[in-house]
Assembly symmetry: C2
């Protein structure tokens, strides 16, 4: 592989793979690029560092969600990367790019959303950068701390493990689809948007909840392999399989659908399973656990008020990530969002 | 002040001032927004965190500088913020946004430039994010460590201090102006660009050197007030005066001109002093030191192979930053770059 063609030709995954080969191991670096966050050695502890960039028109649309909501959910994405490592937040910095003609009130609302998340997840906003840019761009970098021997890596799944998630999926994708449909005047969309189910889906999109508590509980309970579902269960399960050098299989009937997913799918003619597999950004954790530790992990989550867990599949020898349905096996890697590719996919038929 | 009008109406300084009023003090945060970097308490040490965003067409132009050069100098800017605090680099993460049609080789060259800087300044690249964006956007976040009681803050200048810089100024601005002139076929520009003086100026632009060693030496020598000259000596001196609650005066005849500044200014009909006061991004340090510590600071810099220092002015009671010339006083705040304003200024007449 070489740097030939365009970014689109190589795709996000291809670029990442090139980049990881090129980057040398660093002094004091326990874990470099490739997981949800980097880990640095720091005495008896570990520092955890992660960065996310969000671009208007790619990651968010101010005609669908308020600037306040955008600020909140972008911070959620960065904080979720700390959660996915079993880390505790220390601080966040934000780079902000925008055209000079943007109303200052948009900036003020973004800041309010960020500060709401900052308070909710106890991660102080300590700095940033303000620059001119042709569209709104937000760069969030979160710093956290973790304990040695109690971190969650996506590369630690082993054959025999059960594959689990910390909550139901597809809510954020359904909420976004519903907001678009309501904006565009699709019949029945406004009614659904104001129903209990519709509001639950919209809330999953607008107010995602990074699973910081669940991450720390799972790390303490001896779970070693986890990541956050940020781009969709399908592609994220594929990434866990690749990084762990294993095969994962998810049973279609076990994929838990979030409230509102069925209803939105029915209204808009979408596949509810596609929303759950291809929709990310609601930040549940995907993790692998040995069967004899499953009960302990579940009880620990419940005791901590972090809900339970849902077994969705299993870890096997081999490679790739597969969805087992009544008709056979489908490639999970085709469900989810990859930058520079054709966009968010609802399943193999669209890719 | 409120969030009325556009970003341009409030300006970068106005927005920062609003933002700083709104952000609460955070647990474990020794220093929040407003300096070159944030400082976090961490046992007996301090962590130092800083983020910079760079946008194509605003901060860099690939028709003037190679992608490798852009990667190198953008990392230099982030590392310089650590230098300005007297901190030592630990790690850097990079957010990368670009249109899918950008050649992958541009990405590869950017990465090479970043890795060159990473090696040179011993700051491992540990992670990042790749996203689609309408133009190239680079977000650098650098993490460092510092010692309690040995940090450099821009807010610590006191009346009676001498104002100093660690090296001559204007080279990067002259180099950029020369590159533009040569590209645009200005008569004599190509010849100057290949001369020793011209090459020195271009090197100052393309290969800036963050003053990490100088920052640590100054902090150890008891200097307490410093910042990097990133937007121009004029506006940066104004910022130091404002944050310290003092007045600073710089003597025009003492402003040290970098190699090539006179020659580029003569060719292009520019004011050499304007280049030195209004041009930033060469990352010398601006610092204030008590007169009885000046000699110690200078010797410490020389012993460490960090060159010497140049006294450019003095710190007084009062406010604002002023340039003292034979004709009287001029406002230094008008020399330098501020986002959302009219762009990089060569002096009061342009603002």
């Amino acid at each position: 592989m070489s740097w030939e063609g365009s970014l689109r030709d190589l795709g996000e995954e291809g670029l990442l793979s090139m980049l990881r080969k090129r980057i040398p191991a660093g002094r004091g670096v326990l874990l470099g690029p490739g997981d949800d966050a980097a880990l640095l050695e720091w005495g008896k502890e570990l520092l955890c560092l992660t960065t996310d960039m969000y671009v208007e028109g790619v990651h968010f649309d101010l005609s669908l969600l308020s600037a306040e909501g955008v600020g909140f959910r972008c911070l959620a994405g960065a904080v979720s990367d700390l959660a996915a490592m079993g880390a505790e937040p220390l601080a966040v910095v934000v780079g902000f790019g925008a055209p000079g003609g943007v109303p200052a009130s948009v900036f003020g609302s973004l800041l309010e959303g960020i500060l709401q998340g900052s308070t909710e997840w106890d991660i102080p906003l300590v700095g940033g950068d303000l620059v001119s840019a042709p569209v709104l761009v937000l760069g969030f970098t979160a710093l956290g701390r973790a304990e040695r021997g109690r971190v969650l890596l996506r590369s630690r799944a082993v054959p025999g493990d059960l594959l689990c998630v910390t909550g139901p999926l597809g809510g954020a994708a359904a909420g976004l689809a519903l907001l678009k449909a309501a904006r565009d005047g699709v019949e029945g969309a406004s009614e659904l948007a104001s129903s209990e189910k519709g509001r639950a889906a919209i809330r999953a999109h607008a107010r995602p909840r990074p699973r910081l508590g669940a991450g720390r509980v799972l790390a303490a309970a001896g779970v070693t392999a986890a990541m956050d579902v940020s781009d969709g269960l399908g592609i994220d399960a594929f990434r866990m399989a690749r990084e762990s050098g294993v095969r994962v299989e998810i049973a279609s009937e076990r994929v838990p659908l979030a409230p509102g997913v069925r209803e939105v799918a029915a209204l808009l003619g979408l596949d509810p399973l596609g929303l759950a597999l291809g929709g990310g950004e609601e930040y549940e954790l995907l993790f692998a656990v040995a069967p004899d530790r499953l009960e302990e992990a579940e009880e620990a989550l419940r005791r901590a008020g972090e809900g339970g867990l849902l077994v969705v599949g299993e870890v096997l020898h081999g490679e790739g990530a597969w969805l087992r349905t009544a008709e056979g096996l489908a490639d999970l890697a085709s469900f989810g969002f990859e930058h520079y590719r054709s966009g968010r996919s609802g399943g193999p038929e669209e890719s």
